[in-house]
């Protein structure tokens, strides 16, 4: 029996309850395929995502972090995603500045009707991160299983 040594990335996706999480649900009911490497965390609004959440995900061994929220203008709380937009632009820029590959972070706006876009985004993102390989620059070794 051969052991599968192919690299499987761990992707954390923060999805807002009102749009993207419903979008993910729609992708599921439509039987659209996206990799099981994506672990979805539901948040009330994309602006609930503290920069620390993103860093903590990386610390616990995530290889990529993606934030999904309502399209600008469609936020359930009127303005949450506008704040996310500013915050994450700055945070990603800073991560890049500190030498963390910028392709490991992403923000995508997915509405509840865009199941197809959700699946497509996730497929693309997983592919990008798989190419980059394991996240070695920003991980907490204690949280990784010793192999």
């Amino acid at each position: 029996m051969s052991v599968n040594t192919e690299f499987k990335p761990l992707i954390v996706a923060f999805c807002c309850n009102w749009c993207s999480y419903a979008g993910a649900d729609l992708a599921g009911t439509n039987r659209l395929q996206y990799p099981a490497d994506v672990k979805i965390i539901r948040v009330p609004c994309s602006c609930r995502v503290n920069p620390m959440f993103v860093l903590r995900a990386f610390q616990r061994g995530a290889d990529g972090v993606i934030l999904c929220g309502c399209h600008p203008g469609d936020c359930h709380y009127t303005s949450g995603n506008y704040f996310t937009r500013r915050r994450m632009a700055l945070l990603f820029s800073m991560l890049d500045y500190m030498g963390i590959e910028k392709e490991r972070t992403r923000v995508e706006w997915v509405s509840a009707a865009e199941g197809a876009k959700f699946a497509k985004t996730m497929n693309e993102f997983v592919e990008t991160v798989t190419k980059l390989g394991e996240n070695r620059r920003l991980e907490d070794l204690r949280c990784k299983k010793q192999s």
Binding site: L55, L90, F92, G99, V107
Partner: protein, 326 residues
């Protein structure tokens, strides 16, 4: 300058306008100046200093001082006045309890810069105008005042005070818009991702988590700091992994993004000489680029960039589109 300042402070103490003065006095070494509170004319005569070593930013002390009884007199350099304004804007300082005198600054001598120039065994320093005389175990050395400045003063953003003072001693200076303060940030941005990573690992791995950068920062003045919360996983203790070192500095810089006035205190107090202001300046530079020029503490009406938004803000993928090195 020092005489004029002490004279005015004594007058204000004598006529009862204020009952104490926040200023500077010599620390363990003459060049190692420390903030101090003075309550009498005698104390002022004995200890009060204002010279080329008085770098500490006094504005943060007013958070507590302005909540005590009576009015407090404070002297603010141009840099400090921006921090003061920013704190006022955030309702951290009770303005009615503070009497502010703006004083000029010609750049402060930085002990780190002097040491980096290869001068060892420093016992004392004196500065008379343009020449800095350094007494060392191996004899006296000299250096020009301009060469001995710290990075924050060499690339000084302004010699003009933010409008917040009650009176001024000396003359108002001019803002400096030559953009030189972003030179080092630009240099880092031009590096490859791996070089940048190695640069920051090299710098941040020196961190001993003394929290001096957090404690001195006027923008960093939450009553309950995330770093004091044991549940945060990054509470006050030595960093265990390289990740924690990165995370502490990333979060520290992020929490003051849009509020940092670029006073450079974080770098000045760092016992390990980590250029922390480069993180803050990166945020300032990005904010200027993405959301328009913004100087924290400059005026009261503008909302901080991270507390505001416009419908046409750039998308976060501007970071990838900007190109640069992978």
């Amino acid at each position: 300058m020092q005489e004029a300042i002490i004279k005015r402070a004594k007058e204000l103490l004598a006529d009862g306008t204020v009952n104490r003065v926040v200023g500077w006095k010599a620390g363990d070494f003459a060049y190692d100046v420390t903030p101090a509170v003075f309550t009498s004319a005698e104390e002022l005569d004995k200890d009060f200093l204002y010279n080329d070593f008085c770098a500490p930013n006094l504005s943060k002390y007013l958070i507590k001082e302005s909540r005590k009884e009576g009015k407090v007199l404070v002297f603010l350099k141009p840099c400090d006045s921006y921090s003061f304004n920013q704190l006022l804007k955030e309702h951290r300082i009770l303005r009615d309890n503070v009497y502010v005198i703006a004083i000029p600054c010609r750049g402060k001598v930085d002990i780190g810069t002097v040491r980096d120039s290869g001068i060892k065994g420093i016992t004392d320093m004196e500065c008379d105008g343009e020449t800095l005389t350094i007494h060392t175990l191996y004899g006296d050395k000299t250096m020009s005042h301009a060469d001995s400045l710290g990075d924050k003063c060499k690339t000084c953003k302004t010699k003009k005070h933010a409008a917040c003072f009650d009176e001024m001693i000396g003359e108002e200076g001019e803002p400096n818009n030559d953009g030189k303060r972003f030179e080092m940030v630009e240099k880092l941005e031009a590096m490859t991702s791996e070089e940048r990573f190695n640069f920051w690992r090299n710098e941040l791995s020196k961190c001993i988590r003394c929290n001096a950068c957090r404690n001195v920062c006027p923008a960093c003045s939450c009553e309950n700091c995330v770093f004091d919360n044991p549940a945060s996983g990054i509470q006050q203790r030595a960093a265990v992994t390289s990740f924690e070192e990165n995370m502490f500095h990333l979060i520290r810089a992020f929490h003051v993004a849009g509020r940092c006035t670029d006073c450079g205190e974080c770098t000045r107090v760092c016992p390990q000489n980590i250029p922390l202001h480069l993180l803050n300046r990166k945020y300032i530079k990005d904010i200027n680029e993405f959301y328009g020029e913004y100087q924290a503490g400059e005026n009261f009406d503008e909302r901080a960039p991270l507390n505001a938004y416009t419908f046409t803000d750039c998308e976060p993928d501007v970071v990838y589109k900007r190109g640069g090195n992978a």
